[in-house]
Amino acid sequence: MAVTVRIPPALRSLTEGSDEVLLEAGTVRAAIDALEAVHPGLKERVMSEEGKVLRFVNLFVGEEDIRMLDGLDTELKDGDDLSIIPAIAGGR
C-alpha cells in the first residue's frame, strides 16, 4: 500500500527537512520499519526498544489515534496518511 508518513517539524532533522515520506507498507508497524530503512534514527524517536509506541508520541492514521484502532498492527490502505505527533514541552 502506498502511504504518506507526515513528519513533525521536531523530527525533520532526521529526514533532511522533508515533511512527508512516501513509502509502501501494509501496517503501521511496517511503515515505521520502512521509515527507519530510509531515514535511520527515526524509529527510536517513535518506538521503545521493546517495540511499543513511546508513551509521549501519538500516531494517527487519518484522524484516528492508532491506540483506538489496532495499535501498531493497524492496517493501512492505499493513500492513507500516517501522522507522528510527539509531545513538545517548549513555549516560554
Partner: protein, 243 residues
C-alpha cells in the same frame, strides 16, 4: 453585559505562549487574569514574549505581564503570582479560577497542571512549541472518574524520561509560538462558552498547516480510573517542575 467580565483565567507561564494568550483574552473581555511565573525578563525573550520590552529586562515576568494587561483597559484586572505551579501550590492557585491556560516549558509542569485541573474540575488549554511547530489541547472540566474526557494523560500518558526538546535547546520561531498562544486563547474562549473540549491541534508553521484531531479518552488514563488523588504523591521527574 459581557459574559466574560466575571470570568477568571489563570495563566501558567508568562512566556511565548502565555503573553499572546493573555493579551488576546484581556482584549476579548476576560475580567480577571492571574499570571503565575517566577522568572525574570531576559533580552532573548523579547522576540516572542510580546508583553515585554527592553526596559523590562531583569524585572519579574508576572509583574510586568500583569501591568501590561491592566493597561489594556479598565475592564481588565490582572494579578501577578511570583511563584511556580507545583503540587503544593496548585490548590491555592486554582481557587476561584474558571479556566487555566498553561504555557510552561517543561513536561513536569504540564503534567502537574493537567492533574490539578482534572482533580479540581477546572478546564485547561495546554500547548507546547519548538522550532516551527507545536500542539495545543483543549480539556474540559469532566474531572476524574468514568465520565472523564480527553486530557493530557490520555494523549501523552506521562512525562518523557529523556530530556525534552524545549525552546532553549531547539530554538523557537516567534510567530509560531504566537500562533499557538492565540490558538490557546481561542480554545479558552470556546471552553468558557460551554464547549466540551477534547480537541488536539497540531500546527506546522513551515507548511502552514493546522490540523485538529479528537483523540478519544484513554480507558487506562489514571484520571478515568481515579488513580490520582494527591499530587504530592506523584513523581513528576525527570526534572524539577517549574512554571
Amino acid at each position: 453585559m459581557n459574559p466574560l467580565a466575571d470570568q477568571t483565567v489563570l495563566l501558567v507561564g508568562a512566556g511565548g505562549l502565555g503573553c499572546p494568550a493573555g493579551h488576546a483574552l484581556a482584549r476579548a473581555g476576560v475580567g480577571r487574569l492571574v499570571v503565575v511565573d517566577d522568572d525574570t525578563v531576559e533580552g532573548t525573550n523579547l522576540h516572542r514574549q510580546i508583553l515585554f520590552c527592553e526596559s523590562d529586562i531583569g524585572r519579574p515576568k508576572a509583574t510586568v505581564a500583569a501591568e501590561r494587561l491592566m493597561s489594556l483597559g479598565p475592564h481588565v484586572h490582572a494579578e501577578a503570582r511570583l511563584t511556580r505551579f507545583l503540587p503544593e501550590t496548585a490548590a491555592s492557585l486554582l481557587e476561584g479560577v474558571d479556566l487555566v491556560v498553561e504555557g510552561s516549558d517543561n513536561f513536569p509542569s504540564k503534567f502537574v497542571v493537567a492533574d490539578a485541573c482534572a482533580l479540581h474540575r477546572v478546564p485547561v488549554v495546554q500547548a507546547g512549541a519548538v522550532r516551527w511547530g507545536g500542539w495545543a489541547l483543549a480539556v474540559g472540566a469532566s474531572g476524574p472518574g468514568p465520565r472523564h474526557t480527553t486530557c493530557l494523560r490520555c494523549v501523552f500518558e506521562e512525562p518523557p524520561r529523556a530530556p525534552a526538546l524545549g525552546c532553549e535547546r531547539a530554538g523557537i520561531i516567534g510567530p509560531v509560538v504566537g500562533v499557538l498562544g492565540a490558538l490557546q486563547a481561542t480554545l479558552a474562549l470556546r471552553l468558557l462558552a460551554g464547549e466540551p473540549g477534547g480537541s488536539l491541534h497540531s500546527y506546522d508553521g513551515r507548511r502552514d498547516r493546522l490540523r485538529e484531531t479528537r483523540p478519544a479518552p484513554r480507558p487506562r488514563c489514571p484520571h478515568a480510573r481515579g488513580d490520582i488523588a494527591d499530587l504530592e504523591r506523584i513523581d513528576y521527574a525527570p526534572t524539577a517542575a517549574g512554571a
